[in-house]
């Protein structure tokens, strides 16, 4: 009986944390973002996003972990367009995390909202619960026309049909940076050492990624910017992405 109890206790129970080890956070300055979509392709290249094809696109089944949303304001000729990059917000109180019956998505010690592909059974509840609509389902096992598959990143799983996927903040890059930090006998990863693919590619440097636990990190400074806000703040999901609102000048 005691062994059973011990085993019971050993079963890992991912859950909430008092303080994250690292608190990975991204800030996106909408005043810099030009909507050029470089991040969209960077993500596609880095994370083995499938080429779904015209027909699937027409059915609105595109898989873009990061996308640019557009919002118009006004009427011609006084019309303005605003872009906002939308990706997984890695909410600290994520609605998706309570949804998954098998812990394929949960919060880890680094403040990341994880998605474990090989654990996913495809209930798709997380995508329904997600207010930001940044979870994407593999409706099919997508294939790459030869030899396009040679491009696939070996550090990222190629997902099969029936699995949910989403932005991971480029976990493979985080893992690599931590690995490098360990090699140098450093305890912590340096600020700026990790750049997710989208952040790396951004031509206007609108995106900054780093550890919010470190008050001196660039992202912490950005997060303290008075222009900072969270999208759909009133839903109280406490996202890990801080947007800096666009500056509007009259004229």
């Amino acid at each position: 009986m005691s062994t059973a109890l011990e085993k019971f206790k050993k079963y890992r129970k991912p859950g909430y944390y008092d303080k994250f080890d690292y608190h990975w956070t991204m800030s996106i300055d909408l005043d810099r973002c030009t909507g050029c979509e470089a991040c969209v392709v960077a993500c596609q290249a880095e994370n083995n996003l499938p080429i779904v094809g015209e027909q699937q696109f027409a059915m609105r089944r595109e898989i873009k972990w990061i996308r640019i949303e557009r919002y118009w304001e006004g009427e011609y000729p006084d019309i303005k367009l605003q872009f906002i990059p939308m990706l997984c917000q890695h909410c600290d109180q994520a609605p998706c995390e309570i949804a998954c019956p098998v812990f394929a998505t949960y919060h880890n010690q680094d403040g990341l909202n994880t998605q474990v592909y090989n654990r996913c059974i495809g209930t798709r509840t997380c995508a329904v619960y997600c207010p930001y609509e940044v979870r994407f389902f593999n409706w099919f096992t997508y294939e790459w026309d030869e030899p396009l598959e040679q491009q696939l990143n070996p550090d990222v799983t190629v997902r099969e049909k029936g699995v949910m996927e989403k932005c991971t903040f480029c976990i493979q890059r985080i893992r690599q940076a931590k690995d490098a930090a360990k090699d140098d006998s450093r305890r912590r990863v340096r600020d700026g050492e990790i750049k997710p693919a989208c952040v790396q590619s951004c031509p206007t440097e609108a995106m900054v990624f780093g550890d919010l636990n470190d008050p001196d990190s660039q992202v912490s400074k950005m997060a303290r910017n008075p222009r900072g806000y969270h999208v759909l703040e009133e839903l109280n999901t406490t996202p890990s992405i801080v947007y800096l609102k666009r500056v509007h000048t009259d004229g």
């Binding site: 909507g35 050029c36 969209v40 806000y229």
Partner: protein
């Protein structure tokens, strides 16, 4: 029935047991993992570690900007392209199209072996041949021409190559005895070069210092989208906006809101072709207000007299007050910068428009100032032959001579004029008129399909080369392109082909072009660059230098202030200034709309259309994928009862095509716009048979100042065909419905 177990029952039991055992065995077998292999290297390459990425620096050639790129490779395969952080053009960043270079390399539709035409000319039917065969045939043809002293009947039409490959082309044609070497690129801003030549007497473009500017006034130039060097401009734009305490302001003057227009603080929907007049009216206003203090103020007052804001207001559709306000802001901001291009440079008065923009900069005091217009050094290093980039007029001349009786051979390198020139230019017929057409390309396209023989090229990720970014960044820069992966197929680089041909043609060619390969040629050329720049001329010193530029991917010299005589410039501008009204093909009553095609962010001039990532990239302004579309103002659409997806018949005076309508909120009601890039007939599985090509129906109007194609000078009429298609896009609703998404509203939605 007895309950005793008899022999029969026992046999049943044993039978069931055997069956079960068999099933169990098979089940266990099926659950085993498949056999995987561990394949070692035979010989170990020196820079190879399994499981660890190796990065190589090279140059992006997806557009002419010349960004430096770093390619991540694992186990000998290219995995990701990122910007080269030490490259001054893109500073570690890269645009969408540049990152999709992997789709070029690993494109399933690449030409894999040399091809020989085996059907009717132009039928697109080819059969593979060997390189030996191909090169022998071609060198035979060219050699015969040379011997017969008819080599001037050979023509080389290349895409916009740059650096030493261009030099090699020039040398080869020269050695062959032909003067007919031209480069064609749709996006080549001929009017911008002409305007700058007129104002600054320079053949290279100046450096627009957006980064340090505080007021960026753009006349039609989509500097964040596809104009000149978008990544460099974007990096600068980021700094302009939030890099310093004082946020720079951006104003965009254009008839159809481009990506830059969408990001500007103010968008001014001026009439197409009236941009120059607006610039002059602003200059007028600045001079009138006494905000210009130059010695030649009096001359300017006179020269600009005809362009008072009031008089321009009607012609441009922009109120005089607004012109004066912008002018005042422009003059007050320091430093400020006006740039012009795109549609403004592509009307019949394109060069005059861009001269007017330069005048505005001059009056605003921005020339030679940080945050204004800076000058590039005349040439980075001694490249003797200027790039023979053809304007539309020159292309027409070329086609005329191709149609003539003398033309014998046409070599096409990496260019697709059938697609990127209007149908009115009759490119196809001109190419078909040449007896022998040699194609060099990585992909089959509309022009290559007309060739007699096709030599498959390495992609830029497999070839050696170099590149001098144009426009430059204010100081001498060049980048080296090196192969990042082994060749996938039996392809060769253009340089290697030219050198091999030179050797086979014989005569004095092998002696004058002694290099064994493009790599060898490039090294020798750079050796001379090194000798010219360094005191140490030892081979060891050069090897070190060469390794260092391969490792960093870029070579540059420290910036030097480039000064230009101000007064002469003012005089040149005074004489150059003058505006003609733009003219458009087609009368206004019948052809109601001015058509503005624009370079698509994903496909550039159409070359990106065969990249699946680009086909799946939502257009930044409309979010449409996989198709082309015609943009209409909502008012126009309502008036004509056109809804999204209604297939429209678009007719110009010279042609017509069909395309679905898209209601675009930020476009003048008298303008329709359409992205360039789709409408390929023969460009691989991802591009062929998708959408339509707006270039096709452009009237052959040219810019009077430069002879460039005035692609914004065609009027069209549109009518509904009655069919309707589903426009594939990612956008749902494009209004925020008052929700707290953009952070502009306080509190609960």
């Amino acid at each position: 029935m007895s309950n005793k177990i008899n022999r029969r029952d026992f046999l049943k039991f044993v039978g069931a047991g055997t069956l079960g055992a068999g099933a169990g065995f098979l089940a266990a077998d099926a659950s085993k993992m498949t056999t995987e292999f561990l394949i070692p290297q035979v010989n170990l390459p020196e820079d190879y570690s399994p499981g660890i990425a190796t990065w190589y620096h090279t140059v992006c050639t997806q557009c002419s900007a010349g960004c430096g790129i770093s390619v991540r490779t694992r186990e000998g395969r290219a995995k990701k392209i990122e910007g080269n952080p030490s490259h001054p053009v893109n500073q570690g960043r890269l645009c969408a199209l540049g990152q999709a270079g992997l789709n070029v390399l690993y494109n399933p539709d690449r030409i894999k072996t040399p091809l020989l035409r085996d059907g009717e000319r132009g039928s697109g039917s080819f059969s593979p041949i060997s390189w030996d065969q191909a090169l022998t045939t071609i060198s035979g043809v060219l050699g015969t021409l040379k011997i017969q002293k008819k080599a001037n009947n050979a023509y080389l039409l290349s895409g916009g190559v740059n650096g030493h490959l261009h030099e090699l082309f020039a040398l080869f044609m020269d050695q062959l005895g032909s003067k007919n070497y031209l480069q064609h690129e749709f996006s080549h801003p001929a009017s911008l070069y002409a305007a700058n030549k007129a104002c600054f007497d320079e053949d290279v473009l100046p450096y627009y210092d957006i980064r340090n500017s505080k007021y960026l006034l753009s006349f039609g130039a989509d500097y964040l989208g596809a104009w000149l060097s978008p990544v460099h401009h974007s990096v600068s734009y980021g700094h302009l906006r939030q890099g310093t305490e004082q946020r720079g302001r951006c104003v965009q003057v254009e008839a159809r809101m481009s990506l830059s227009g969408a990001n500007a603080d103010e968008w001014i929907a001026a009439r197409p072709g009236s941009e120059g007049m607006l610039a002059l009216a602003m200059a007028h206003s600045i001079v009138e207000q006494g905000l210009y203090a130059g010695a030649d103020a009096g001359d300017w007052k006179q020269a600009l007299g005809a362009y008072s804001p009031a008089s321009v207001a009607e012609r441009s559709g922009i109120s005089a007050d607004r012109i004066v306000r912008i002018a005042t802001e422009f003059a007050a901001a320091s430093p400020s910068l006006a740039i012009g291009g795109g549609a403004a440079g592509a009307s019949t008065n394109g060069t005059a428009n861009l001269v007017a923009v330069n005048v505005l900069n001059y009056i605003g005091g921005n020339i030679g100032e940080a945050g204004g217009i800076l000058f590039n050094p005349a040439s980075t290093f001694s490249i003797d032959a200027p790039r023979p980039r053809a304007s539309y007029q020159q292309m027409l001349k070329l086609f005329a001579s191709l149609r003539g009786n003398d033309a014998e051979v046409l070599i096409l390198h990496d260019t697709n004029p059938v697609f990127t020139l209007p149908a009115a230019a009759n490119v196809k017929e001109a190419v078909m008129a040449v007896p022998y057409v040699i194609g060099m390309s990585s992909f089959m396209d509309e022009t290559m399909a007309l060739a007699d023989i096709i030599l498959p090229l390495d992609t830029y990720l497999e070839a050696w080369g170099d590149n001098i970014p144009d426009p430059g960044v204010g100081f001498a820069v060049a980048s080296i392109a090196q192969p990042v992966v082994k060749r996938l197929y039996d392809t060769r680089s253009a340089g290697d082909i030219i050198l091999a041909l030179a050797h086979q043609i014989g005569g004095e060619l092998p002696a004058n072009m002694p290099w064994t390969s493009m790599e060898n040629y490039l090294m020798e050329m750079w050796r001379s660059v090194y000798r010219g720049k360094s005191d140490d001329s030892s081979d060891q010193g050069f090897r070190k230098f060469w390794t260092s530029i391969l490792e960093s991917g870029v070579w540059g010299e420290s910036p030097q202030q480039q000064d230009r005589p101000h007064q002469a410039m003012g005089r040149a501008m005074l004489s150059a200034v003058g505006m003609a009204q733009p003219s458009f093909a087609g009368n206004e009553s019948e052809y109601r709309f001015v058509m503005q095609p624009y370079l698509s962010l994903a496909f550039h001039d159409g070359r990106g259309a065969n990249l699946p990532w680009m086909q799946e990239l939502p257009d930044p302004l409309t979010s449409i994928v996989y198709n082309s579309w015609v943009e209409l103002n909502p008012k126009t659409a309502a008036e004509l009862a056109i809804g999204e997806g209604d297939v429209l018949l678009v007719e110009s005076t010279v042609g017509r095509f069909e395309a679905p309508a898209f209601i675009y909120e930020a476009i003048r009601p008298d303008v329709v716009a359409m992205p360039i890039g789709q409408g390929h007939g023969n460009y691989g599985r991802y591009a062929s048979g998708r959408g339509s090509n707006p270039i096709e129906i452009l009237a052959p109007e040219t810019d009077s100042g430069s002879g460039g194609l005035a692609w914004s000078a065609t009027r069209v009429k549109i009518s509904k065909t009655g069919r309707r298609v589903h426009v594939i896009k990612t956008d749902g609703t494009t209004r925020d419905l008052g929700r707290n998404i953009l952070g502009q509203k306080d509190g609960h939605a």
